[in-house]
């Protein structure tokens, strides 16, 4: 195994291939706090990419209700328990944010390159079984409500929606496991693809990917996965006149929880300082968004703003250290972060850069005892070539219904 640096773990780790990085990396931020699980993303993906024979069970994009829902069923608790078994009591983060446990590469048995399992057919069959099951709590009240109602910061009874696509990992487990080198990571944008001609349907990728995003197509007998809507990211969709466009699942988002883009990488894989790239700001400056199960070691590239109301222990297991910091950053956002978050879903085009024009103070309040001031700043989004895509204000404009339509409802 080669030694590669994984910045999400704060250390070197083992990986079957030498360290190489793409010039840019496909990445996104998902705000779990705002998702309503309408599954518009799932349908947008399905109607675009997985509507054919053999793809009936495939959801390259899915939204599952945590803690119990999952597609395939129990995917995360299964791999977590495999890791716990391989490294009992060792799967921990140290104080400085370094992961001391074993990744799926380091915990692999000798006859495998990656620790994993092949989900059963039954597990693929249900996209969100147990979606309506809440966590257990003691209650003497009627209607099953917790005594004393909800308690903040974390609720006693809770669930939240987790939106999942392929993480287009920097160290993909699927590519590591493929004995045929049929899986590759594109140097231009880091999108991970399965070569449909080279794949021989061994399903080692399905077994290895901890997020379970490669899927076997029983009609073609080879495996497929989320392709990051690469024609859109390349800008070859006619809609945007050649300008890079976000994926179908991102742009279809009703709750406006998703923002996807491309981040520039240094040769060592670290993110190039790009102060005015919205993803760079959210992940590296505001630190409001965190990777999903970074301890797996694949360096996933979808970042999540953790749900505010969920017990921190659970969130730390899911998003690693930095959960409290991220929630604080989200609950009382900095002036800049608040402006950046207005960029979500105002356009289908990828925002490469933003500028902020300061506006007047909108109002003042207290958030958890601290003074919080909101300003009505204007944020301007730019294309790769510097042209403006759109501009929007922090305060949503108030539209007053004209008198002639006042009783239109």
């Amino acid at each position: 195994m080669a030694e590669v640096y994984n910045w999400q773990l704060g250390r070197n780790m083992e990986y079957p291939y030498e360290e190489h990085h793409s010039k840019r990396q496909f990445a996104a931020v998902f705000n779990t706090n705002r998702c309503i699980a309408c599954q518009t993303c799932s349908m947008a993906c399905k109607s675009t990419w997985t509507f054919s024979e053999g793809q009936e069970y495939m959801w390259w994009n899915n939204v599952e209700s945590k803690p119990y829902g999952g597609y395939p069923a129990n995917w995360d608790s299964k791999i977590l328990s495999q890791l716990a078994e391989a490294d009992p009591d060792g799967q921990k983060w140290s104080e400085d944010g370094t992961f001391d446990g074993k990744t799926i590469f380091e915990a692999a048995p000798k006859n495998e390159r990656v620790l994993g399992y092949l989900p059963t057919n039954a597990e693929w069959r249900t996209p969100n079984l147990y979606e309506d099951t809440s966590t257990k709590y003691k209650s003497s009240g009627k209607l099953g409500l917790a005594d004393g109602g909800a308690e903040l910061p974390a609720h006693k009874a809770w669930f939240f929606y987790l939106q999942r696509i392929c993480n287009h990992c920097s160290y993909p487990a699927c590519a590591a496991a493929c004995p045929r080198n049929a899986i590759y990571k594109r140097p231009e944008d880091g999108i991970v693809l399965i070569d449909q001609e080279r794949c021989r349907g061994y399903r080692k990728c399905m077994e290895a990917c901890p997020y379970k995003k490669p899927m076997y197509n029983a009609q073609s007998r080879v495996s497929e996965k989320c392709i990051g809507c690469y024609p859109r990211v390349e800008g070859s969709d006619p809609l945007t006149n050649g300008h890079p466009m976000e994926t179908r699942c991102m742009t279809a988002c009703v709750g406006q929880i998703r923002l996807q883009g491309l981040v520039d990488l240094n040769e060592d894989g670290s993110w190039k300082e790009d102060r005015h790239n919205p993803l760079y700001h959210m992940v590296k400056v505001a630190k409001v968004a965190l990777p999903l199960y970074p301890q797996f070691g694949t360096e996933p590239n979808i970042y999540y703003i953790p749900p505010r109301w969920v017990p921190r222990e659970y969130l730390t297991q899911m998003f690693g250290p930095g959960v409290e910091e991220a929630i604080n950053a989200y609950r009382a956002p900095s002036r800049e972060l608040l402006a950046v978050m207005q960029l979500f879903r105002r356009s289908q085009e990828i925002v490469f850069r933003y500028e902020i024009e300061e506006g007047p103070k909108a109002y003042e309040t207290k958030v958890r005892g601290e003074k919080f001031t909101m300003y009505n700043d204007t944020v301007i989004a730019y294309r790769e070539n510097g042209e403006e895509i759109f501009r929007t204000e922090v305060e949503e404009p108030v539209i007053v219904r004209p008198p002639e339509r006042s009783n239109a409802i």
């Binding site: 195994m1 291939y17 030498e18 054919s52 029983a218 080879v222 497929e224």
Partner: protein, 423 residues
């Protein structure tokens, strides 16, 4: 005391010398060559390294139950799990197949019988894997041409693989089994648009109509296996009484990319692999066997290209080899039966002789970098070199060229004979 090994020992020493770059010249009269060939064939046969192909008149049978197969002698071939490189079986196991070979002036055919408790021919759901049987040949072979690394070959030494698939056999016998056939009660597809990416990309696995259950492939090292269609590669498999009976046949001269089968020009190196679908075996998870040699009966061909184990290891002492292996610390990385507790860094060598030929085993301990298996632990991805040390030409005092060798040539052959005995 080491027995006096006479000429044979010279032959063994010549093997080592050839390995490390010295050239030996020897001249033999033609009559002696013929006698030598016969001795070689006898020795190969005794070691279980020879498969006799019988010549028959007329067309070679494609049907495993054809009466013509009775003419061919049956050879038992042991297989062990591929364990050199991940992915491999979790547990090392040994199994056995039987092989018969026929040929005529234009074709070559094999009948492989492999016991299998379950018939697995369905790949129409993500959790199902199908049985398969493969036969491999070096694409080039002959005197002075070293054999490729077992299984997938290695750089510069490609292999031609014929893989018969139970799933493809069922495609031919009863039609392609896609999702429509696998889920008979499903609601019919609405709408005319259907795009099967694998098929559109030309994957040989996705083709819904095929004429042969046998796929023609070439490989030149791990991860390089590539399908290359061969119109004339044919076969048929029947599952009966707890066993697959599979015929694979092809014209001697390939129609496309593949090994040329030269009857009357030496021996044909051959190897086999078997996958059990019930155990989710696919890719490197398979049963594999070492290179053997097909001899075409009735052809007066030279056997010079194959070196019998008894020549490579003449006079070598496996018991001494076993104690050397323990003394030199081989077990700190390798599992070896009955020698201390085996390490897990290097490949498990419990069946080393079932999967490798003695000349390869000898080469691998003298020159670990001759063929490097790119597996975690015993391969440095930066340098591309094996992590196994070699004691070749190492002296007790490295500054004194007259000090004794730590491991002598005889020691190497003793160790090889021990590894070869693990079958």
């Amino acid at each position: 005391m080491r027995p006096n090994t006479g000429l044979s020992s010279v032959a063994g020493a010549a093997t080592i010398a050839a390995l490390v770059g010295f050239v030996f010249f020897s001249v033999s009269p033609a009559t002696r060559a013929r006698a030598a060939d016969n001795t070689r064939l006898d020795q190969l046969e005794k070691a279980g390294d020879l498969l006799r192909a019988h010549k028959v008149d007329g067309v070679l049978p494609t049907d495993p139950d054809d009466a013509k197969w009775a003419a061919a002698s049956e050879h038992e071939v042991p297989l062990v799990s591929q364990f050199a490189v991940a992915p491999s079986a979790a547990k090392l196991t040994r199994s056995q197949i039987s092989v018969r070979a026929l040929y005529n002036d234009s074709e070559f055919a094999l009948l492989v019988v492999a016991a299998d408790a379950t018939k697995n021919d369905d790949v129409s759901t993500a959790g199902h894997f199908a049985d398969a049987i493969a036969v491999g040949f070096p694409t080039d072979y002959g005197e002075g041409i070293p054999l490729p690394y077992i299984g997938m070959g290695n750089e510069g030494r490609p292999v031609n693989v014929w893989q018969w698939k139970a799933a493809w056999q069922t495609d031919i016998d009863s039609g392609y089994r896609g999702v429509t056939e696998a889920y008979a009660n499903r609601i019919p597809r609405a709408g005319p648009i259907n795009y099967v990416a694998g098929k559109a990309a030309g994957s040989p696995l996705s083709q819904t109509s095929r004429t042969s259950p046998v796929e023609n492939l070439v490989a030149e090292g791990f991860g390089t296996l590539t399908s290359t269609p061969s119109a004339k590669l044919d076969g048929k498999g029947i599952y009966k009484d707890g066993a697959w009976r599979v015929v694979m046949k092809r014209p001697l001269k390939p129609n496309g990319v593949g090994a040329r089968i030269r009857v009357g020009a030496g021996l044909l190196p051959i190897t086999f692999a078997v996958w059990d679908g019930a155990a989710a075996e696919r890719n490197g998870m398979k049963g594999l066997t070492r290179w053997r040699f097909v001899v075409f009966s009735g052809e007066n061909a030279s056997a010079k290209q194959a070196t019998p184990a008894s020549t490579v290891l003449a006079g070598a002492d496996p018991a001494k080899g076993k104690s050397l292996v323990a003394a030199l610390g081989c077990t700190s990385c390798h599992a070896l039966p009955g020698v201390a507790s085996g390490g897990i860094v290097g490949p498990d060598l419990s069946y080393a002789g079932a999967i490798h030929r003695p000349e390869y085993l000898l080469e691998s301990i003298i020159k670990p970098n001759a063929i490097v298996v790119p597996a975690p632990g015993y391969f440095d991805p930066t340098s591309g070199l094996s992590t196994m040390p070699s004691f070749y030409n190492m002296r007790a005092d490295e500054d004194d060229p007259d000090s004794p060798l730590i491991v002598t040539d005889d020691d190497f052959r003793d160790m090889t004979s021990y590894l070869w005995s693990l079958r």
